[in-house]
């Protein structure tokens, strides 16, 4: 079948340890290989940077909460079309939306940035068919979605009763029913409390009526995850997000992982992934005394190898915040008084949505921006610290190139600081001005593909240019031997690739979408004996408490688009 050779590029592939060597990449039948015939199509990458396709470990791009965000923000689309200088139609469909792009724009934009995999960070199990409908309509990129478990009534009961085996059987059943990828936890216990208008702001606040604490939920789910040996670890958005002083809760939460070791066949080394840690690294006791806690948090992360994090960098845009952390969004809305959506989901989870403007002329926003970057700059091991904006919460994913620019260039950071109204106060409350570290392309490759792929347990398929991996490749118009002194050119290079290949098909050429080949839904199939107790419990809850029949709950096969199962055996 088809053969391609990418010639003379500068290769950055942390999975293989290649740090900018000039080499060729061979592709055959959609996979990376070591050699191809002379008939192979040649792509000239001389003077360009070659990396594996980007892997986004945490993003909100498909599903009910994302879509309600799209629905409730027509103004996010106003004058953003080509009509007034926006994106001209390139693919099969028009591209709409800025902070919450349409599914079509989402796929096209990721591909143009050289990304080929995205992990949807929160799927309400009851709404799984919706998530899969949107996956079908998101072109080019492979997508996995993580069901949320941190406020699930079944998990509460099993963990409270210390029935890890039953909890594992339930998790396995739900991953299968929803075609989900791994265990997501959002504000453990707090979202259930929010169903009564309450919250859990420390890891020891009891969940109303359930006689369990967030700490117990997190530990129980770590044990469950390692019992099953899932490709990814638990993926945690902890308690008390976004409040001044929350870094202490974060440290308490991270310490819950102490003593746990990863158990899996996928090369994953962490037991806990703490997502968008920028939002969890705030010091101070009010908005007035708000300051960066990035150093304290990263000191802990740096010295504990069983933890990974993603940064959740603030991009200083008007965006839309959305999370399964229902109480957080309510309180955010009490601060900014823009519109507020909330969806509590029976027995499982909740969510909230509030538009938000990270205004460079507001002191707190400036400090938040600094913290996101500090997290990455303090990191000692960038294979454990990943680039995200918690899209769209801290900013749209289409700003990743801008975050890369800030990480690679102190000059760019200073230029942004200079535009802030309260520059001096931002500097006083953060570390950013004193940090002269500038990341290189190898480190960017760690943060954007190799690291996330490894943490997801998928590095044999994604985020790698090693033989046998999917031929997902980004070729950037950036010469590593001659990095431009103007940081804007770095951003421009990462915004639109010279080429993006998805499974060996050129999908972007010269910054334009040129093909929309088939794509996968990645999910985790746990093979384990049926657990009679758990199936009994499931039937009972569906009879008594759910409003959807059990037989209509699991996503029908015909509604799952191109599934690609990651198989796990549990005896």
């Amino acid at each position: 079948m088809s053969e391609i050779i990418i010639k003379n590029g500068y290769i950055f592939d942390p999975i293989s340890g290649i740090k900018g060597d000039k080499a060729d990449i061979s592709i055959k039948d959609g996979k990376i290989t070591d050699k191809v015939s002379s008939k192979a199509e040649v792509i000239d990458a001389s003077g360009r940077t070659v990396m594996a396709g980007g892997v986004d470990i945490h993003t909100h791009i498909v599903g009910p909460k994302v879509n309600l965000g799209r629905e409730m923000r027509p103004e996010d689309k106003l004058f953003r079309g080509s009509f007034r200088g926006g994106i001209l139609k390139q693919g099969k469909h028009m591209e709409m939306g800025f902070s919450i792009p349409s599914t079509w724009k989402t796929g096209y934009s990721y591909a143009r940035m050289g990304y080929t995999y995205a992990n949807e960070a929160a799927m309400p199990p009851l709404m799984a068919p919706h998530v899969h409908e949107e996956i079908r309509d998101t072109p080019i990129i492979d997508i996995s979605a993580m069901p949320v478990f941190g406020n699930n009534w079944f998990c509460f009961e099993y963990i409270k009763n210390k029935e890890i085996e039953n909890n594992a059987a339930y998790v396995a059943w739900l991953l299968n029913a929803t075609k989900g990828f791994g265990i997501k936890i959002v504000n453990p216990g707090g979202t259930e409390a929010w169903a009564w208008g309450d919250n859990c702001v420390t890891i020891n606040d009891p969940v109303p009526f359930f006689d369990i604490t967030p700490a117990e939920i997190v530990k129980g789910l770590i044990e469950t995850n390692e019992y099953l040996g899932l490709p990814h670890s638990i993926h945690l958005h902890g308690n008390n997000l976004g409040n001044p002083g929350c870094y202490e809760t974060t440290l308490d939460t991270l310490k819950l992982a102490e003593g746990y070791k990863p158990k899996n066949k996928f090369g994953r080394e962490q037991v806990l992934h703490n997502t968008h840690i920028q939002f969890h690294s705030y010091k101070g006791d009010s908005w007035g005394t708000f300051e960066s806690g990035a150093r304290e948090v990263m000191d802990y992360v740096n010295s504990n190898k069983n933890i990974t994090v993603d940064i959740g960098a603030v991009t200083l845009d008007e965006t839309t915040t959305m999370t399964a952390d229902g109480p957080f969004e309510y309180h955010l809305n009490q601060l900014n008084h823009i519109k507020w959506a909330n969806v509590d989901v029976e027995l499982e989870t909740g969510s909230g949505i509030v538009p938000y403007i990270y205004d460079k002329n507001i002191k707190v926003c400036g400090i938040q921006w600094a913290i996101g970057l500090e997290i990455a700059l303090f990191a000692k091991d960038l294979m454990r610290v990943f680039l995200t904006t918690d899209h769209p919460n801290a900013g749209p994913f289409t700003r990743y190139p801008r975050v890369i620019k800030w990480l690679m260039s102190q000059k760019a950071r200073e230029a942004t600081l200079d535009t802030m109204k309260y520059k001096d106060k931002v500097i006083a409350a953060s570390h950013i001005a004193s940090m002269d570290k500038e990341l290189g392309l190898y480190e960017i490759a760690m943060m954007t593909r190799a690291g996330p792929a490894k943490a997801l347990g998928l590095s044999s398929m994604y985020g790698s240019l090693a033989k046998g991996a999917d031929a997902n490749i980004a070729i950037y118009d950036l010469d590593p031997t001659n990095i431009p002194s103007d940081p804007e050119l770095i951003e421009a290079a990462f915004q639109n690739t010279a080429y993006t290949l998805k499974e060996g098909v050129v999908v972007v050429k010269d910054k334009q979408i040129v093909a929309e080949p088939h794509k996968y839904t990645i999910w985790t199939k746990v093979n384990m004996p049926e657990n009679a107790q758990v199936m009994h419990d499931v039937k009972e809850k569906f009879t008594k408490n759910y409003t959807v029949n059990l037989e209509n709950y699991a996503v029908f096969d015909e509604h799952v688009h191109n599934p690609r199962a990651i198989e796990v055996e549990v005896a």
Partner: protein, 441 residues
């Protein structure tokens, strides 16, 4: 042997009940019996296997009569007319699965036209309110398991959503609501003493068209300005307002269900907008949610599908081809009809002939009119072309969105007997349009 199919979704109202039991004939062509379903749902399943069902497209002839044509001919007719029209409008989708709605999006993006759904004359104002003020809501199971105070405002589920009260709101016993109706307080606000008001603890017989004032009054009480209330607001005495506001503020978990009484009266979206503001206020003192009583079993569907496709739930202007525009009042079906803004009309999965004000029907009828619908209805009987299709939930399955935006997977219960489903039909029209566009370019 007749076959029993369980867990079937009911294609009638926004309750989207998924517990229907249907018995079908041995050959899979006839519905013999339907259980667990309201009186209206029963009729749909019966109609699905009726001998009177239209099974072939029909084209109006110069003498006014209708003549059977093939699907191929019908597809060609629609594609050619869409291609020629400067601003065609496709409207409907109350009775179409999401797959069909996605295919419709493709057709109208390809054609460069207007795309709208029944919400435009129904809960469209609710969308406008959601745009302006958000939507603090929940799934129906939350109401069942937690709610102790229920408000039906301008909605009459006893008639419009026959199983709503028994499955989700007033009567069911849930996890924290083991006593069912006994421990729930039901408040109905409606200018009529409806059959729903008949089962309520409180009926506030509001002066029609003055809901906004009453919401304002409730908000004053919640925020602490109860003493500043006038003696009467919208026909309701101050004492009664204070009493009911107190019940709402003391709820453990409350839900306001609202309907056409708010969306169709003066102020439209503003009546819902202020209801959302009241909901937000109540969350300072209680837990409160709000939900639109969406009419059809999948009328939430197009809003969901088109939001991820284009970013807007309805009233879409796709004429510019590389970006979408939406502004109800301008891009809404009835407004466009009355202003004579469009030059072709496709009525799909609804009956604009019966449900639009007659002046709007007359305006649209000045241009080519296509009806895509399983039934004979007013729209089909005035159209130039009627294309029959499968009924979602009867002879084709698919995903539908319940009134709380929970996706429900519908099953097919009988054989389609040669009828095309919406998705297939629309994709074939889009394929043909692609060809015409390619030839034209």
């Amino acid at each position: 042997m007749p076959k029993v199919i369980e867990n079937v979704g009911c294609p009638y109202c926004g309750c989207s009940c998924d517990d229907v039991r249907v018995t079908v004939s041995d050959d899979g062509k006839k519905v013999l019996e339907v259980e667990n379903v309201c009186a209206i749902g029963t009729e749909i399943f019966k109609h699905g296997s009726s001998d009177h069902r239209i099974r072939s497209p029909r084209l109006r002839q110069p003498d006014g009569s209708m003549k059977d044509i093939t699907y191929d001919e019908a597809i060609e007719w629609v594609a050619q007319h869409l291609y020629k029209a400067k601003k065609p409008l496709m409207y409907g989708f109350g009775s179409t699965n999401c797959e069909g709605q996605a295919a419709a999006a493709r057709v109208m993006e390809t054609a460069g036209g207007m795309l709208d759904n029944c919400a435009t004359i129904c809960h469209g104002p609710s969308f406008l309110a959601i745009f302006d003020n958000g939507y603090p809501t929940c799934t129906l199971g939350e109401v069942k398991n937690r709610a102790d105070v229920i408000v039906y405002w301008g909605s009459n589920p006893a008639h419009a959503h026959p199983r709503h009260m028994s499955r989700y709101s007033i009567f069911p016993r849930g996890f924290f609501t083991g006593k069912g109706q006994k421990k729930r307080t039901i408040i109905v606000i409606d200018p009529r003493y409806t059959d729903t008001a008949n089962v309520a603890d409180y009926h506030l017989q509001i002066k029609q068209g003055h809901d906004y004032e009453l919401f304002d009054a409730f908000r004053m009480v919640v925020i602490g300005h109860g003493k500043d209330l006038p003696d009467e607001v919208a026909g309701i005495k101050k004492e009664k307002i204070l009493e009911v506001a107190e019940i709402m503020a003391n709820a453990r978990f409350g839900t306001t269900f609202f309907g056409m009484g708010l969306t169709h009266s003066d102020g439209r979206n503003h009546n819902i907008d202020i209801a959302i503001s009241l909901t937000r206020d109540l969350n300072k003192v209680a837990k409160w949610t709000i939900m639109a009583m969406r009419g059809h079993y999948n009328i939430a569907g197009p809003g969901v599908v088109w939001s991820w496709t284009f970013g807007f739930p309805y009233c879409l202007d796709l004429t510019k081809k590389d970006h979408a525009h939406m502004n109800p009042g301008e891009t809404s079906s009835v407004d466009m009809a009355m202003r004579d803004e469009v030059d072709m009309f496709i009525n799909i999965g609804t009956d604009a002939g019966a449900h639009f004000p007659i002046p709007a029907v007359k305006q649209l009828k000045k241009h080519p009119w296509v009806t895509i619908d399983p039934s004979i209805n007013m729209a089909s009987e005035i159209s130039d072309l009627h294309i029959p299709v499968c009924i979602c939930g009867v002879d084709v399955g698919g995903i539908v969105y319940r009134m709380d935006n929970v996706p429900i997977q519908f099953r097919k219960v009988i054989d389609n007997q040669g009828l095309l489903d919406d998705e297939t039909l629309l994709n074939r029209i889009a394929d043909r349009l692609d060809e015409l566009n390619a030839q034209g370019a």
